[in-house]
Structure formats: structure tokens, C-alpha cells
């Protein structure tokens, strides 16, 4: 295993003992990233539960835009395969989704299943020109769709196309749209469903936030961000924002878990920290954190369950030949702190 403590190369046992000591001495440790396979995310929750740490994720901006809107107004959603298979109208909201493979596939194909099979597919867009006017464009579109505005604007054409669709899909990036934007978009989709079928599809980043949300929900009964400081899982997206906690001086240690590639957060050097990173990644170097442990990369040098974006599901990805798994390292840190082994 490749590991460093304060810049010096060490063995697995040394790094794990140092990490356990660092966390055991902390009063308010934060875990961030969680860009890893399900077993590692699960182990991170167990370790956090044991020591009273809080947890935050890599893709938090998008995740909370979706989760916040979901908890307030609900959602009507579909999947990538259903969008490709059934949609005769696709509406791309904002600029970010244009880069996605799914939108490219939608532009290049036609519906093949359901009542729209064989029809031409219209791919429309709204709000891509300017991030500034995106929310208002979406609000105007909903006003046209509701019939509150009636003049002949291009937005009215889009509204009519959604109503005329047999299976409409509205694609968006939650980080670009923001929580209120997602809420507005879900309201639009709901309105259209008074007449025909229409569903939203969130296109997030490629990190493992969707896996974290599931593990967190079944493990704690709640979405992430989660804190265990009071020996009870508490869900609080504001309080347990790792960046906020570090900048406010509330956190006194950090563990960054990213066995899949992600950029190192710049605040990691601001406090005593542990980085569990994928072997061979640019972050697997002594300077990344006080303690650095390189682990197998799930789906490459280690097997692991990952969020499968193409299928919007969890999938096992085999892999072999690498270092220890992140889950194993986290479990050993936990055992060390609990005094279960040495």
C-alpha cells in the first residue's frame, strides 16, 4: 500500500494508526468527498457514527438543489433509457445539459417504445443563453404553460409543444438551475401532466452523490449532509456543509474520501487532514494531506458498486489488482479507534 504521514512514506498499519489517532483527538471532524463505491461510503458512515463526525459530498450543489426541491414540492421524473425510448419532445433547460451524452443521443434518435414510437423527436431548449435569465425564462415558460401569458412568444411555442407531446422529457442540471429553479421546473412538469405525460430528468455530475444519497437514506433514514456529533444522525444541509464548517472554524479535522478522481478541495490544508485517494491519481502524493492513503480505484483496480449514470442505478463494477479497498481502510481506522485491534 502507498501511504504517507506528514510527507514520509509509511506502511498501511502506520498510516491507519496515524489516521485513527488524528480522528480520535478531534472534537468535530468532517468527512468530505465521499466520491467512492458503496462499500466505502457505507464504511464512512459507520466510522462517522462511531466518532461523531459529519459528512458532506462532492457534488453537493446539485444534490441539494434536487433534494431541497424534492422535500418541498416533490417531483415527477423518468430515466435516461425511458427518455431515449419514449420521448417525442425533449426540452433542454439551461446550458449545462447540452454537454451530456444523453442530450446528444436524444438529438440523434427517435422514440422506439410506447405510443410515440416512430414519431419524430423535437428537441427544444430554453434558458441556455444566459445563466442570469435562466430562472426567469423558466418562470415565463410556466406562465405560458398555465395560460397566464398568451402572446406569441417562442416560449409559448415551447409550452404548446409540451402539451402536444405524447411523452415529454425536461432535462436539466440541478447545480446550474438551483433549488428554486428545480422547484419551478417540477411545477411546470406537474402542470403539463394535467393534459399529457411529461417528466423531468436531472443530469448531475459524474461523481457518486446519487450513491451517497441512497446509502445515507437507508443508513440514517435521512439524506446527506449528516452530522453525528450528538450521537444521533442529524440531517442539516447548511450546518454540515464541510466548506462552511472549515471556514467558520467549527471543524478541527478532516477526512477526504475520493477513491474516484476528483480535484482536491483547497481547504484541505487548513486543518489536520486525511486523504483516502485512488492509487495513481494526481492526488496520491504526499502533499495532498497530513495523512495520505492510496486505495484501489473502484471499477478499475478494485471491484465496487457505483452509481451508473447511463442506467440511473447502482451497478457492480469489477476490478482487480490494486491496493486495499477504501472500505477496508475505513473499517480498520474504526477498529483502531474502538480499540478492537492494534
Amino acid at each position: 500500500m502507498t501511504a504517507w504521514v506528514k510527507g514520509d512514506a509509511t506502511d498501511a498499519e502506520g498510516a491507519i494508526a496515524a489516521a485513527a489517532a488524528l480522528l480520535a483527538a478531534a472534537h468535530a471532524p468532517v468527512f468530505a468527498g465521499l466520491n467512492a463505491d458503496v462499500a466505502a461510503i457505507r464504511a464512512a458512515y459507520r466510522l462517522a457514527g462511531t466518532i461523531g463526525a459529519s459528512l458532506d459530498t462532492q457534488g453537493a450543489a446539485g444534490t441539494y438543489a434536487d433534494l431541497g426541491a424534492l422535500a418541498r414540492v416533490g417531483a415527477m421524473t423518468t430515466t435516461p433509457a425511458e427518455a431515449r425510448g419514449r420521448a417525442d419532445v425533449a426540452l433542454v433547460v439551461g446550458a449545462k445539459p447540452e454537454a451530456s451524452a444523453l442530450v446528444a443521443a436524444l438529438r440523434g434518435g427517435k422514440p422506439v417504445r410506447g405510443r410515440a414510437a416512430g414519431a419524430d423527436r423535437q428537441v427544444l431548449s430554453v434558458g441556455g443563453a444566459s445563466a442570469e435569465t435562466l430562472p426567469s425564462d423558466l418562470a415565463l415558460l410556466r406562465a405560458y404553460a398555465k395560460g397566464h401569458l398568451k402572446d406569441e412568444s417562442p416560449l409559448n411555442g415551447i409550452a404548446r409543444a409540451l402539451y402536444a407531446a405524447q411523452y415529454g422529457v425536461v432535462l436539466y442540471d440541478p447545480a446550474e438551475l438551483g433549488e428554486l429553479g428545480v422547484e419551478m421546473l417540477q411545477g411546470l412538469v406537474r402542470d403539463v401532466n394535467e393534459v399529457t405525460r411529461c417528466f423531468a430528468l436531472s443530469l448531475g455530475d459524474s461523481d457518486q452523490d446519487r450513491a451517497v444519497v441512497q446509502v445515507s437514506a437507508w443508513t440514517t433514514g435521512q439524506a446527506p449532509r449528516t452530522g453525528f456529533g450528538r450521537k444521533v444522525p442529524e440531517h442539516d444541509p447548511w450546518r454540515f456543509d464541510a466548506v462552511r464548517q472549515v471556514s467558520a472554524g467549527e471543524a478541527d479535522a478532516a477526512l477526504w474520501l475520493s477513491s474516484l478522481p476528483a480535484a482536491r478541495p483547497d481547504w484541505l490544508g487548513a486543518l489536520p487532514s486525511i486523504a483516502i485517494v485512488g492509487e495513481g491519481s494526481p492526488e496520491a502524493v504526499p502533499g495532498t494531506a497530513e495523512i495520505v492513503i492510496a486505495v484501489g480505484v473502484p471499477g478499475a483496480s478494485a471491484g465496487g458498486v457505483l452509481w451508473n449514470e447511463g442506467r440511473a442505478a447502482l451497478t457492480y463494477r469489477p476490478g482487480a489488482g490494486g491496493g486495499p479497498s477504501a472500505a477496508d481502510v475505513l473499517a480498520r481506522i474504526e477498529h483502531h479507534i474502538a480499540g478492537k485491534d492494534s
Binding site: 423518468t78 430515466t79 437507508w218
Partner: protein
């Protein structure tokens, strides 16, 4: 370790046993009385000893359960964990579910709705439920691949092979269909579907789809009969759907999920949409008595706030405007998807009171508790933690009358519950919650206390207050290990996920792989549930098919 549970009232209807005696346990099994000195003797004087409870229909894992937690973060309360398991006090979490069942003396629980496209996520979540053996039913009946085969008139063998492949690939314990064809029809604009209505695009009907699944399940030899969620759940006149579906089974084995939600006769048959409903419990029970191949579970309603989770997206869409609080999620997924609609069964409300009465009525009118299994369709009718209270109401006419006295008069006018004198015996409760569900799942090693049974055993202190008695077991053994003592978890024993051993046909595998590649851009390997995916070893336990 040899354990003697001594001097309790041992209740095992499968052995005609209801009297004071001993139960002996060794190596995780119930054994014949021994001459040897036991390593542990449990004084069960003044207690009732039963097999561990078996749950056949409770939504305890999967994407819709996850969504319900995200939609209603405040549905459950988390408490500070004193010690032991870090998450067992986190309301609604997997560990909480395991602990809450175990404290009531339940030792097996089945999630009835696992979508084969998301089998791995569901199985990972189930595996994190401690203390219980778990299992899941693979949901079929709306997926394009199956519907295409049926539309194209493919052979029964092809349907059987596809069902077998789905069971094998998802590591399910059985097969369920949910408003067969309804989700597909909903995506194509249909908002109401009955047994013989046409499913657009495919030219099929619920009758045809369900019939093909009934046959496939028999041919494969799945021990659990096809688990059926009918059309028109919860609507006045749903009793017609129930009875027609029962007749459509044509003598084949069939299990009806949450029958209470179908025991709604239209109060005004000329205007079923506006006249409300009256109890059709008698009709449902008579139909069951006439059809010994059928079983049902109840879906008892419990007063209070809950959330309904269902893959019947047609029905959930139809019910969306009754959401309380006013927010809901509908996912038009890769086959069924799911609908999550919060719901308040208003305490003493006329509609919820009648629903509450109808569930009890079905159980109290039934001559055969073994075919009338207790569920709340957790969380759809209410939480499974209400079982002790429901048992109390079944066993105690006075208690029932006290509750009925607080309810609106519609309970008297539209149900027969107030007139029913019957009180369940302990043996009948054991049939309703132990032997019945175990037989239904085809799990011969549990639900009874005969020699050789798995040593899943619950010991309850006899108490006139049946709610208190069944809420907090004095002792629960799982696989012969004491997991609950005096109502508290004492050992975080880990159970297994029960999974049917089914051979899948190689030609169907190749065919399905090509189909999935075309539809998802990913083949069969992205849908599997391999052992290597699980953080802990030895998650699954094999269950054999019927000979």
C-alpha cells in the same frame, strides 16, 4: 449450546400444540427434549412461546422507500443511540427496521417490490437490515421486454425463461405483479385500467399478462405463488376487480396483496365515482372460502400520518391530489418506477374509520387465518409497528368496542365490524402471523416449533393488554441466538437474504443481453447482484424451488 425454554404456554397450531410445555433448541434448530443438562434454561412461566413472526409484505427497502425518506424527512424521529448499533435509533433506517421487527418477535421480513432493473440497490439495502432474514419479490408485468414477448405470441416456455432469468438475476424469493400493464398504459396516456381493458401499443390486458406470470411461476416451481396487486386499488367498486382477478386465476395459486384496499363495494353502484364505498369484506371472504388455492394479506389501515409507496404509478398518479402534506413524487421508471404520496389516515375520519373497520372485518370473518395474513402493507396502510395493537383488537372484543365507540357512525352503517363477537385465540394469531406467512412463502423451516424448525422463537409475557404483550417480547431467538431480552436488542445478529435457486436458460440470457444492450446501452452484467458487491460476507441463503 443447548437451550431449554421451560414452562411457557407453547402455541404451535401446525402441531396442534397449545399448552404449557418446553421448547428445546440446539445449533440454531428446535430439537426434541433432551436428557442432557441445558446450557441455558429460560423460565417461561407465565409466557406465551411462539415461532418468530414472518412478514410477507412490508416496504422496507428499495428506491421508493428511499424516495419516501427524502420526501418526508420528518416522518420519523431519530433518538440518541445509547450504545450498541450506531443507527438502530435512526427512525426509518434499515437498522431501525430490523430492531423494531425483532422487538415484536418477528424474525423474517419480505420486501414485496424489487424492480429487476434496480435489484442490486434493493438487495444492498436489505442486507443492511440486521436481526432478520430478508427477502424480496421481483416485480414483473410492465416491462417492455415481457410485454413484447406476449404481444408477439411467444411460447409459454419463453415467458417462463424470461421470468426465471429475472428471478435468478435479481436473486429474488418470488415474483409479484403490480397492476399488470398499468404502468405501461399510464405512460401511454391511460388513467384507469381494469382487468380486460386494452394496454395500448401491446394489445394486451392485465388478465393476459397476469395469466402468463401465474403459469410461469408454477412452471418454474417458485414456492411463493404469484403475488398480485390488482387493478383499481382503493376505488369504490374495487371488490369487483378483486373477485374478477380471483376468477381469472382459474384455480392457479395466487396471493392477493393488501386485500383491504379492494374490499370497497360501491355504495351507489349506479354512480361508483361519487357515492363512496361500503365494506365488501363479506364478499371478499366468501370468495376466498370458495377458492382454497388463494391467499391474501390485509393491508390494515392505522390512524395517523404515513406515506404511500407503490409501483402502481397509474394509481399513485390518480391519488396525487389527496397527498397530505401536498407534495408527492412520481417516477415513470424503466418498467414500473414508483409513486410516493404522503397520506394522513385522519383519526376518527369517516373514510379512514371505514377502512380501518374493513381490514379487521376481513380477519374476523375469515375461517382460515393461515390464508388471511396480517400486514399493514407498511407504510401504505400504516407502520408495521402497529401490529401489536391490531392483534389486541382481534383478540379482545371489549377493546374493539371501546375504539369503535370513538368512531363515526359510518362504521356501523357500512361495515359489520361492530356486530362481530369473535375473538382470536393465540393459535389463530400464530396462524395469522407465523404459520400462514411461512407456508405462503414456502419456507418450511419456520413459522412453527416442530423438531428441526429454525430456532426463530418469540417468548411474550402473558398480559391482558395484548398491545403491551406483543410490542415488547421477553425473549427472541434468531437462529438460536438471543437477540432480544426484555424488549431490548442484546445481540446484533445478522440474518440472511433468502434467495431462490433458479437455473436461467442460456439462450434467454443471450437474447436478454442483446435486448438490454439495445435499450440501455448496457448488458445483463450491469443488472446482476454478485456476492462481491456486498461489503459483508455470506449475505444470501439459498431457497429451493418446488419439486
Amino acid at each position: 449450546m443447548l437451550i431449554r425454554i421451560q414452562g411457557g404456554r407453547v402455541v404451535d397450531p401446525t402441531a396442534g400444540r397449545d399448552g404449557v410445555g418446553d421448547v428445546w433448541v440446539e445449533d440454531g434448530r428446535v430439537v426434541a427434549p433432551s436428557e442432557r443438562t441445558p446450557d441455558r434454561t429460560v423460565d417461561a412461566t407465565g409466557c406465551v412461546v411462539m415461532a418468530g413472526g414472518v412478514e410477507v409484505h412490508s416496504h422496507i427497502a428499495g428506491g421508493n422507500v428511499i424516495t419516501s425518506r427524502l420526501l418526508l424527512p420528518d416522518l420519523y424521529v431519530s433518538e440518541t443511540a445509547p450504545n450498541g448499533h450506531p443507527f438502530a435509533h435512526a427512525g426509518g433506517a434499515a437498522a431501525w427496521i430490523g430492531a423494531a421487527y425483532a422487538k415484536m418477535g418477528y424474525t423474517t421480513a419480505v420486501e414485496p417490490a424489487m424492480p429487476p432493473t434496480h435489484a442490486l440497490a434493493t438487495q444492498l439495502e436489505l442486507a443492511d437490515i440486521p436481526l432478520l432474514d430478508r427477502g424480496a419479490l421481483a416485480v414483473m408485468g410492465n416491462d417492455d421486454q415481457l410485454l413484447q414477448l406476449l404481444r408477439d405470441g411467444e411460447s409459454k416456455d419463453a415467458i417462463r425463461d424470461l421470468v426465471a432469468l429475472n428471478v435468478a438475476q435479481s436473486r429474488a424469493l418470488g415474483v409479484k405483479c403490480i397492476n399488470a400493464g398499468g404502468a405501461s398504459a399510464f405512460k401511454d396516456g391511460v388513467l384507469k385500467l381494469s382487468l380486460d381493458d386494452e394496454i395500448p401499443v401491446y394489445g394486451l390486458s392485465t388478465r393476459k399478462i397476469m395469466g402468463s406470470l401465474l403459469d410461469a411461476v408454477e412452471e418454474i416451481g417458485v414456492p411463493h405463488p404469484l403475488h398480485v396487486h390488482c387493478n383499481n386499488l382503493g376505488l369504490p367498486g374495487a371488490d369487483d376487480s378483486f373477485v374478477e382477478t380471483l376468477e381469472a386465476a382459474e384455480g392457479r395459486r395466487i396471493h392477493f396483496a393488501h386485500a383491504q384496499f379492494y374490499a370497497y363495494g360501491a355504495a351507489d353502484p349506479a354512480n361508483p365515482g361519487t357515492g363512496g364505498f361500503r365494506s365488501a369484506a363479506r364478499r371478499i371472504v366468501d370468495a376466498m372460502h370458495a377458492n382454497p388455492h388463494a391467499t391474501l394479506d390485509i393491508g390494515q389501515v392505522v390512524f395517523g400520518q404515513t406515506v404511500t409507496v407503490s409501483m402502481d404509478i397509474l394509481r399513485q398518479f390518480g391519488g396525487r391530489k389527496g397527498a397530505n402534506p401536498k407534495k408527492w413524487v412520481l417516477n415513470a421508471g424503466d418498467a414500473e418506477g414508483g409513486g410516493v404520496v404522503p397520506f394522513l389516515y385522519k383519526p376518527r375520519g369517516p373514510t379512514s374509520s371505514l377502512q380501518w373497520a374493513i381490514g379487521l372485518e376481513i380477519m374476523l370473518l375469515s375461517n382460515e387465518p393461515e390464508r388471511t395474513i396480517l400486514t399493514t402493507d407498511h407504510p401504505n396502510g400504516g407502520p408495521f409497528t402497529a401490529y401489536p395493537r391490531i392483534i389486541h383488537l382481534l383478540m379482545d372484543k371489549e377493546e374493539r368496542d371501546r375504539e369503535i365507540a370513538t368512531l363515526p357512525k359510518v362504521v356501523h352503517e357500512r361495515s359489520s365490524l361492530p356486530e362481530i363477537e369473535r375473538e382470536y385465540s393465540f393459535s389463530e394469531i400464530a396462524e395469522l402471523t407465523r404459520s400462514g406467512p411461512a407456508k405462503l412463502l414456502g419456507l418450511a423451516d419456520r413459522g412453527h416449533l416442530r423438531d428441526g424448525a429454525r430456532a426463530d422463537i418469540a417468548v411474550y409475557r402473558e398480559d391482558k393488554n395484548r398491545t403491551a404483550m406483543f410490542a415488547s417480547a421477553k425473549l427472541v431467538l434468531k437462529d438460536g441466538v438471543a437477540i432480544v431480552e426484555d424488549g431490548e436488542i442484546v445481540n446484533w445478529h445478522v440474518g440472511r437474504s433468502l434467495s431462490l435457486v433458479v437455473e436461467s436458460d442460456k439462450a434467454m440470457e443471450r437474447r436478454t443481453d442483446a435486448y438490454l444492450q439495445d435499450r440501455f446501452g448496457q448488458g445483463l452484467d450491469s443488472f446482476t447482484v454478485p456476492d462481491a458487491a456486498f461489503p459483508e460476507a455470506e449475505v444470501f441463503e439459498d431457497v429451493a424451488c418446488r419439486a
